[in-house]
Symmetry: C2
Subunit: 216 residues, 2 copies
Amino acid sequence: MRVSELVARSGVPLATVKYYLREGLLMPGEATSATQATYGDEHLDRLALIKALSNAGLAIPRIRTILRLIEKPDDSRFELLGKVIAQLPPYVSDAEDGEHQDYPRARRVLEQLGQIYDPRFVAVAQLERALEAAEAAGIPMDDERVAAYGEHIRGIAETDIRMMPTGAAAGQAQYAVLGTILYEPIIAALRRLAHQDLTAKLLLLKTENPDRQDPP
Amino acid sequence: MRVSELVARSGVPLATVKYYLREGLLMPGEATSATQATYGDEHLDRLALIKALSNAGLAIPRIRTILRLIEKPDDSRFELLGKVIAQLPPYVSDAEDGEHQDYPRARRVLEQLGQIYDPRFVAVAQLERALEAAEAAGIPMDDERVAAYGEHIRGIAETDIRMMPTGAAAGQAQYAVLGTILYEPIIAALRRLAHQDLTAKLLLLKTENPDRQDPP
Protein backbone atom coordinates (compact mmCIF):
# COMPACT_ATOMS: atom_id res chain seq x y z
CA MET A 1 0.00 0.00 0.00
CA ARG A 2 1.02 3.62 -0.48
CA VAL A 3 1.90 5.78 2.52
CA SER A 4 -1.48 7.59 2.25
CA GLU A 5 -3.28 4.29 2.77
CA LEU A 6 -0.96 3.40 5.68
CA VAL A 7 -1.93 6.72 7.30
CA ALA A 8 -5.63 6.15 6.70
CA ARG A 9 -5.67 2.54 7.94
CA SER A 10 -3.41 3.06 10.97
CA GLY A 11 -4.94 6.34 12.07
CA VAL A 12 -1.39 7.66 12.62
CA PRO A 13 -0.88 11.12 11.03
CA LEU A 14 1.59 11.39 8.11
CA ALA A 15 3.98 13.64 10.06
CA THR A 16 4.12 11.05 12.84
CA VAL A 17 4.67 8.18 10.39
CA LYS A 18 7.58 10.14 8.87
CA TYR A 19 8.97 10.81 12.33
CA TYR A 20 8.85 7.10 13.23
CA LEU A 21 10.60 6.28 9.91
CA ARG A 22 13.36 8.84 10.60
CA GLU A 23 13.78 7.57 14.18
CA GLY A 24 14.02 4.00 12.95
CA LEU A 25 10.98 2.84 14.97
CA LEU A 26 9.12 1.99 11.75
CA MET A 27 11.05 -0.08 9.22
CA PRO A 28 11.37 1.53 5.76
CA GLY A 29 8.92 0.51 3.03
CA GLU A 30 10.00 -1.05 -0.24
CA ALA A 31 11.15 1.75 -2.56
CA THR A 32 9.17 1.89 -5.81
CA SER A 33 10.76 5.10 -7.11
CA ALA A 34 13.13 7.77 -5.84
CA THR A 35 10.35 9.37 -3.80
CA GLN A 36 7.81 6.60 -3.19
CA ALA A 37 7.68 3.38 -1.22
CA THR A 38 5.15 0.66 -0.62
CA TYR A 39 4.13 -0.68 2.79
CA GLY A 40 2.69 -3.96 4.03
CA ASP A 41 0.82 -5.48 6.95
CA GLU A 42 4.01 -5.57 9.01
CA HIS A 43 4.03 -1.76 8.90
CA LEU A 44 0.41 -1.56 10.06
CA ASP A 45 1.19 -4.01 12.84
CA ARG A 46 4.24 -2.05 13.93
CA LEU A 47 2.31 1.25 13.93
CA ALA A 48 -0.42 -0.33 16.09
CA LEU A 49 2.25 -1.47 18.55
CA ILE A 50 3.97 1.94 18.68
CA LYS A 51 0.61 3.69 19.05
CA ALA A 52 -0.45 1.43 21.92
CA LEU A 53 2.85 1.98 23.75
CA SER A 54 2.74 5.71 23.12
CA ASN A 55 -0.86 5.99 24.35
CA ALA A 56 0.18 4.12 27.50
CA GLY A 57 2.59 6.98 28.19
CA LEU A 58 5.88 5.38 27.09
CA ALA A 59 8.55 7.80 25.90
CA ILE A 60 10.28 7.18 22.54
CA PRO A 61 13.50 5.74 24.07
CA ARG A 62 11.44 3.13 25.97
CA ILE A 63 9.52 2.24 22.83
CA ARG A 64 12.79 1.95 20.91
CA THR A 65 14.22 -0.40 23.56
CA ILE A 66 11.13 -2.64 23.37
CA LEU A 67 11.22 -2.76 19.56
CA ARG A 68 14.94 -3.63 19.56
CA LEU A 69 14.38 -6.41 22.07
CA ILE A 70 11.50 -7.80 20.03
CA GLU A 71 13.39 -7.52 16.74
CA LYS A 72 16.58 -9.18 17.91
CA PRO A 73 15.70 -11.55 20.70
CA ASP A 74 19.18 -12.79 21.63
CA ASP A 75 18.20 -13.75 25.19
CA SER A 76 16.34 -16.79 26.32
CA ARG A 77 12.60 -16.45 25.87
CA PHE A 78 12.08 -15.99 29.60
CA GLU A 79 14.68 -13.22 29.82
CA LEU A 80 13.27 -11.50 26.75
CA LEU A 81 9.78 -11.39 28.28
CA GLY A 82 11.20 -10.03 31.55
CA LYS A 83 13.17 -7.32 29.75
CA VAL A 84 10.28 -6.05 27.65
CA ILE A 85 7.85 -5.97 30.60
CA ALA A 86 10.48 -4.10 32.66
CA GLN A 87 10.16 -1.21 30.18
CA LEU A 88 6.51 -0.61 31.11
CA PRO A 89 5.25 1.84 33.73
CA PRO A 90 4.97 2.36 36.67
CA TYR A 91 8.67 3.19 36.89
CA VAL A 92 10.53 2.76 40.14
CA SER A 93 13.55 4.89 40.86
CA ASP A 94 16.99 3.32 40.32
CA ALA A 95 17.59 3.42 44.04
CA GLU A 96 14.61 1.15 44.54
CA ASP A 97 15.41 -1.11 41.62
CA GLY A 98 18.12 -3.71 41.81
CA GLU A 99 19.19 -7.08 43.07
CA HIS A 100 20.75 -5.69 46.23
CA GLN A 101 17.48 -4.23 47.41
CA ASP A 102 15.13 -6.05 49.70
CA TYR A 103 11.39 -5.74 49.36
CA PRO A 104 10.01 -7.13 52.62
CA ARG A 105 6.30 -6.61 51.92
CA ALA A 106 6.49 -8.08 48.42
CA ARG A 107 8.61 -10.99 49.69
CA ARG A 108 6.07 -11.82 52.35
CA VAL A 109 3.17 -11.77 49.87
CA LEU A 110 5.02 -13.88 47.29
CA GLU A 111 6.07 -16.38 49.96
CA GLN A 112 2.46 -16.69 51.07
CA LEU A 113 1.47 -17.35 47.45
CA GLY A 114 4.28 -19.87 46.90
CA GLN A 115 5.74 -17.81 44.07
CA ILE A 116 9.33 -17.00 43.13
CA TYR A 117 10.73 -13.93 44.91
CA ASP A 118 13.46 -12.40 42.76
CA PRO A 119 14.31 -8.76 43.63
CA ARG A 120 15.65 -8.23 40.09
CA PHE A 121 12.10 -8.40 38.71
CA VAL A 122 10.89 -4.83 38.35
CA ALA A 123 7.35 -5.93 39.26
CA VAL A 124 8.64 -6.86 42.74
CA ALA A 125 9.66 -3.24 43.36
CA GLN A 126 6.31 -2.11 41.88
CA LEU A 127 4.46 -4.47 44.21
CA GLU A 128 6.47 -3.29 47.23
CA ARG A 129 5.66 0.34 46.52
CA ALA A 130 1.96 -0.41 46.02
CA LEU A 131 1.79 -2.46 49.25
CA GLU A 132 3.54 0.34 51.11
CA ALA A 133 1.03 2.91 49.83
CA ALA A 134 -1.93 0.76 50.94
CA GLU A 135 -0.33 0.31 54.36
CA ALA A 136 0.30 4.06 54.74
CA ALA A 137 -3.34 4.79 53.90
CA GLY A 138 -4.55 2.41 56.60
CA ILE A 139 -5.72 -0.44 54.36
CA PRO A 140 -2.81 -2.93 54.38
CA MET A 141 -3.22 -6.20 52.46
CA ASP A 142 -3.88 -8.80 55.14
CA ASP A 143 -3.38 -12.54 54.64
CA GLU A 144 -7.04 -13.16 53.81
CA ARG A 145 -7.01 -10.59 51.02
CA VAL A 146 -3.63 -11.78 49.70
CA ALA A 147 -4.98 -15.35 49.51
CA ALA A 148 -8.18 -14.34 47.71
CA TYR A 149 -6.53 -11.90 45.31
CA GLY A 150 -3.64 -14.28 44.65
CA GLU A 151 -5.88 -17.16 43.66
CA HIS A 152 -7.97 -15.09 41.25
CA ILE A 153 -5.05 -13.18 39.76
CA ARG A 154 -3.33 -16.50 39.10
CA GLY A 155 -6.49 -17.63 37.30
CA ILE A 156 -6.36 -14.54 35.08
CA ALA A 157 -2.64 -15.03 34.42
CA GLU A 158 -3.21 -18.69 33.50
CA THR A 159 -5.74 -17.58 30.90
CA ASP A 160 -3.21 -15.10 29.52
CA ILE A 161 -0.48 -17.75 29.26
CA ARG A 162 -2.86 -20.32 27.74
CA MET A 163 -3.89 -17.82 25.06
CA MET A 164 -0.32 -16.72 24.28
CA PRO A 165 0.51 -17.32 20.61
CA THR A 166 2.89 -20.22 20.01
CA GLY A 167 5.84 -19.82 17.69
CA ALA A 168 8.32 -16.99 17.30
CA ALA A 169 9.66 -15.20 20.39
CA ALA A 170 8.94 -11.82 18.79
CA GLY A 171 5.21 -12.56 18.58
CA GLN A 172 5.14 -13.77 22.18
CA ALA A 173 7.00 -10.69 23.41
CA GLN A 174 4.59 -8.40 21.55
CA TYR A 175 1.60 -10.25 23.04
CA ALA A 176 3.14 -9.99 26.53
CA VAL A 177 3.74 -6.24 26.23
CA LEU A 178 0.32 -5.44 24.79
CA GLY A 179 -1.52 -7.88 27.04
CA THR A 180 0.12 -6.35 30.09
CA ILE A 181 -0.55 -2.68 29.42
CA LEU A 182 -3.87 -2.98 27.57
CA TYR A 183 -5.63 -5.51 29.77
CA GLU A 184 -4.66 -3.80 33.05
CA PRO A 185 -7.14 -0.92 32.55
CA ILE A 186 -9.80 -3.44 31.46
CA ILE A 187 -9.28 -5.39 34.68
CA ALA A 188 -9.48 -2.18 36.72
CA ALA A 189 -12.71 -1.04 35.01
CA LEU A 190 -14.29 -4.50 35.35
CA ARG A 191 -13.46 -4.58 39.07
CA ARG A 192 -15.10 -1.18 39.58
CA LEU A 193 -18.18 -2.38 37.69
CA ALA A 194 -18.30 -5.62 39.69
CA HIS A 195 -18.26 -3.52 42.88
CA GLN A 196 -21.21 -1.51 41.58
CA ASP A 197 -23.09 -4.60 40.49
CA LEU A 198 -22.53 -6.39 43.81
CA THR A 199 -23.36 -3.31 45.88
CA ALA A 200 -26.54 -2.66 43.90
CA LYS A 201 -27.70 -6.24 44.39
CA LEU A 202 -26.78 -6.19 48.08
CA LEU A 203 -28.60 -2.93 48.79
CA LEU A 204 -31.59 -4.00 46.71
CA LEU A 205 -31.78 -7.20 48.73
CA LYS A 206 -31.72 -5.20 51.96
CA THR A 207 -34.42 -2.85 50.67
CA GLU A 208 -36.65 -5.74 49.70
CA ASN A 209 -36.05 -7.57 52.97
CA PRO A 210 -35.35 -4.91 55.57
CA ASP A 211 -35.81 -7.40 58.42
CA ARG A 212 -33.71 -10.10 56.81
CA GLN A 213 -31.34 -11.74 59.25
CA ASP A 214 -27.96 -12.83 58.03
CA PRO A 215 -27.79 -16.63 58.05
CA PRO A 216 -26.21 -17.97 61.27
CA MET B 1 -0.92 16.24 69.53
CA ARG B 2 0.88 19.41 68.45
CA VAL B 3 1.22 20.26 64.77
CA SER B 4 4.90 19.22 64.86
CA GLU B 5 3.88 15.71 65.90
CA LEU B 6 1.14 15.65 63.23
CA VAL B 7 3.82 16.48 60.65
CA ALA B 8 6.19 13.81 61.97
CA ARG B 9 3.58 11.06 62.18
CA SER B 10 1.81 11.80 58.88
CA GLY B 11 4.96 12.43 56.86
CA VAL B 12 3.23 15.46 55.34
CA PRO B 13 5.47 18.60 55.44
CA LEU B 14 4.34 21.51 57.62
CA ALA B 15 3.86 23.85 54.65
CA THR B 16 1.56 21.28 53.05
CA VAL B 17 -0.40 20.75 56.27
CA LYS B 18 -0.90 24.53 56.49
CA TYR B 19 -2.00 24.61 52.86
CA TYR B 20 -4.58 21.86 53.46
CA LEU B 21 -5.85 23.76 56.52
CA ARG B 22 -6.20 27.00 54.51
CA GLU B 23 -7.94 25.16 51.67
CA GLY B 24 -10.34 23.52 54.10
CA LEU B 25 -9.26 19.99 53.14
CA LEU B 26 -8.01 19.37 56.67
CA MET B 27 -10.38 20.32 59.48
CA PRO B 28 -8.97 22.81 61.99
CA GLY B 29 -7.49 21.52 65.22
CA GLU B 30 -8.78 22.48 68.64
CA ALA B 31 -7.33 25.90 69.53
CA THR B 32 -5.31 25.83 72.75
CA SER B 33 -4.07 29.43 72.48
CA ALA B 34 -4.16 32.26 69.95
CA THR B 35 -1.41 30.61 67.90
CA GLN B 36 -1.56 26.93 68.82
CA ALA B 37 -3.96 24.07 68.22
CA THR B 38 -4.08 20.42 69.10
CA TYR B 39 -4.81 17.62 66.63
CA GLY B 40 -6.18 14.10 66.93
CA ASP B 41 -6.35 10.77 65.12
CA GLU B 42 -9.05 12.13 62.79
CA HIS B 43 -6.47 14.60 61.46
CA LEU B 44 -3.92 11.82 60.89
CA ASP B 45 -6.58 9.77 59.14
CA ARG B 46 -7.61 12.70 56.95
CA LEU B 47 -3.99 13.45 56.00
CA ALA B 48 -3.45 9.79 55.04
CA LEU B 49 -6.53 9.98 52.80
CA ILE B 50 -5.46 13.27 51.15
CA LYS B 51 -1.92 11.94 50.67
CA ALA B 52 -3.15 8.72 49.03
CA LEU B 53 -5.42 10.64 46.66
CA SER B 54 -2.72 13.15 45.86
CA ASN B 55 -0.14 10.42 45.16
CA ALA B 56 -2.65 8.78 42.84
CA GLY B 57 -2.55 11.96 40.75
CA LEU B 58 -5.80 13.61 41.86
CA ALA B 59 -5.89 17.39 41.66
CA ILE B 60 -7.02 19.43 44.69
CA PRO B 61 -10.56 20.14 43.32
CA ARG B 62 -11.15 16.41 42.87
CA ILE B 63 -9.88 15.69 46.38
CA ARG B 64 -12.12 18.45 47.73
CA THR B 65 -15.14 16.95 45.98
CA ILE B 66 -14.43 13.50 47.45
CA LEU B 67 -13.98 14.91 50.96
CA ARG B 68 -17.24 16.89 50.71
CA LEU B 69 -19.12 13.81 49.55
CA ILE B 70 -17.67 11.74 52.38
CA GLU B 71 -18.33 14.43 55.01
CA LYS B 72 -21.93 15.11 54.08
CA PRO B 73 -23.37 11.99 52.52
CA ASP B 74 -26.83 13.22 51.60
CA ASP B 75 -27.33 10.63 48.85
CA SER B 76 -28.25 7.01 49.25
CA ARG B 77 -25.26 4.85 50.10
CA PHE B 78 -25.19 3.39 46.58
CA GLU B 79 -25.19 6.84 44.95
CA LEU B 80 -22.52 8.11 47.34
CA LEU B 81 -20.19 5.23 46.43
CA GLY B 82 -20.80 5.85 42.72
CA LYS B 83 -20.08 9.56 43.05
CA VAL B 84 -16.81 9.19 44.94
CA ILE B 85 -15.49 6.48 42.59
CA ALA B 86 -16.42 8.69 39.61
CA GLN B 87 -13.85 11.22 40.84
CA LEU B 88 -10.98 8.76 40.31
CA PRO B 89 -8.82 8.47 37.19
CA PRO B 90 -8.72 7.52 34.36
CA TYR B 91 -10.83 10.49 33.27
CA VAL B 92 -12.96 10.26 30.17
CA SER B 93 -13.79 13.40 28.25
CA ASP B 94 -17.23 14.93 28.78
CA ALA B 95 -18.19 14.01 25.24
CA GLU B 96 -17.64 10.37 26.12
CA ASP B 97 -19.29 10.58 29.51
CA GLY B 98 -23.04 10.69 29.93
CA GLU B 99 -26.26 8.84 29.79
CA HIS B 100 -26.94 9.63 26.14
CA GLN B 101 -23.81 7.87 25.00
CA ASP B 102 -23.74 4.27 23.95
CA TYR B 103 -20.78 2.03 24.75
CA PRO B 104 -21.25 -1.00 22.51
CA ARG B 105 -18.12 -2.93 23.54
CA ALA B 106 -18.72 -2.42 27.26
CA ARG B 107 -22.40 -3.28 26.85
CA ARG B 108 -21.57 -6.55 25.12
CA VAL B 109 -19.07 -7.55 27.82
CA LEU B 110 -21.44 -6.66 30.68
CA GLU B 111 -24.29 -8.54 29.00
CA GLN B 112 -22.08 -11.60 28.66
CA LEU B 113 -21.26 -11.34 32.38
CA GLY B 114 -24.90 -10.81 33.38
CA GLN B 115 -24.12 -7.45 34.98
CA ILE B 116 -26.00 -4.15 34.98
CA TYR B 117 -25.19 -1.94 31.99
CA ASP B 118 -25.76 1.69 32.96
CA PRO B 119 -24.03 4.25 30.69
CA ARG B 120 -24.09 6.82 33.52
CA PHE B 121 -21.46 4.80 35.40
CA VAL B 122 -18.11 6.38 34.59
CA ALA B 123 -16.45 2.95 34.71
CA VAL B 124 -18.55 1.94 31.67
CA ALA B 125 -16.90 4.69 29.60
CA GLN B 126 -13.52 3.68 31.05
CA LEU B 127 -14.16 0.06 30.07
CA GLU B 128 -15.26 1.05 26.56
CA ARG B 129 -12.11 3.04 25.98
CA ALA B 130 -9.88 0.25 27.30
CA LEU B 131 -11.64 -2.37 25.14
CA GLU B 132 -11.28 -0.11 22.11
CA ALA B 133 -7.54 0.29 22.72
CA ALA B 134 -7.05 -3.49 22.96
CA GLU B 135 -9.03 -3.96 19.75
CA ALA B 136 -6.99 -1.31 17.91
CA ALA B 137 -3.75 -3.01 18.99
CA GLY B 138 -4.93 -6.34 17.56
CA ILE B 139 -5.68 -8.11 20.88
CA PRO B 140 -9.47 -7.71 21.31
CA MET B 141 -11.10 -9.31 24.37
CA ASP B 142 -12.80 -12.42 22.99
CA ASP B 143 -15.63 -14.26 24.75
CA GLU B 144 -13.29 -16.81 26.31
CA ARG B 145 -11.13 -14.13 27.91
CA VAL B 146 -14.17 -12.12 29.03
CA ALA B 147 -15.59 -15.21 30.74
CA ALA B 148 -12.33 -16.07 32.51
CA TYR B 149 -11.48 -12.52 33.55
CA GLY B 150 -15.08 -11.82 34.58
CA GLU B 151 -15.26 -14.79 36.91
CA HIS B 152 -11.99 -14.00 38.66
CA ILE B 153 -12.56 -10.25 38.88
CA ARG B 154 -15.93 -10.94 40.46
CA GLY B 155 -14.17 -13.14 43.00
CA ILE B 156 -11.82 -10.27 43.86
CA ALA B 157 -14.72 -7.81 44.08
CA GLU B 158 -16.65 -10.17 46.37
CA THR B 159 -13.68 -10.21 48.73
CA ASP B 160 -13.60 -6.40 48.67
CA ILE B 161 -17.30 -6.13 49.48
CA ARG B 162 -17.11 -8.80 52.18
CA MET B 163 -14.24 -6.93 53.87
CA MET B 164 -15.94 -3.52 53.62
CA PRO B 165 -16.38 -1.96 57.07
CA THR B 166 -19.95 -1.96 58.31
CA GLY B 167 -21.45 1.15 59.83
CA ALA B 168 -21.22 4.77 58.75
CA ALA B 169 -21.47 5.68 55.07
CA ALA B 170 -18.41 7.92 55.39
CA GLY B 171 -16.20 4.99 56.42
CA GLN B 172 -17.53 2.84 53.59
CA ALA B 173 -16.96 5.60 51.04
CA GLN B 174 -13.39 6.10 52.26
CA TYR B 175 -12.74 2.33 52.03
CA ALA B 176 -14.20 2.26 48.52
CA VAL B 177 -12.05 5.14 47.30
CA LEU B 178 -8.83 3.86 48.85
CA GLY B 179 -9.51 0.23 47.98
CA THR B 180 -10.14 1.19 44.37
CA ILE B 181 -7.05 3.30 43.72
CA LEU B 182 -4.58 1.55 46.03
CA TYR B 183 -5.38 -2.08 45.24
CA GLU B 184 -5.44 -1.56 41.44
CA PRO B 185 -1.62 -1.23 41.22
CA ILE B 186 -1.24 -4.23 43.57
CA ILE B 187 -3.44 -6.32 41.27
CA ALA B 188 -1.44 -5.18 38.23
CA ALA B 189 1.91 -6.02 39.88
CA LEU B 190 0.64 -9.41 41.11
CA ARG B 191 -0.57 -10.27 37.61
CA ARG B 192 2.84 -9.44 36.13
CA LEU B 193 4.52 -11.57 38.78
CA ALA B 194 2.09 -14.45 38.19
CA HIS B 195 2.98 -14.28 34.48
CA GLN B 196 6.66 -14.54 35.35
CA ASP B 197 6.10 -17.37 37.81
CA LEU B 198 3.96 -19.36 35.36
CA THR B 199 6.33 -18.74 32.44
CA ALA B 200 9.36 -19.77 34.49
CA LYS B 201 7.69 -23.01 35.57
CA LEU B 202 6.48 -23.71 32.02
CA LEU B 203 9.89 -23.15 30.44
CA LEU B 204 11.64 -25.11 33.16
CA LEU B 205 9.30 -28.02 32.53
CA LYS B 206 10.09 -27.91 28.80
CA THR B 207 13.84 -27.76 29.51
CA GLU B 208 13.65 -30.76 31.79
CA ASN B 209 11.49 -32.73 29.37
CA PRO B 210 12.38 -31.52 25.87
CA ASP B 211 10.57 -34.46 24.27
CA ARG B 212 7.51 -34.15 26.44
CA GLN B 213 4.32 -34.49 24.45
CA ASP B 214 1.32 -32.44 25.45
CA PRO B 215 -1.37 -34.76 26.79
CA PRO B 216 -3.92 -35.75 24.10
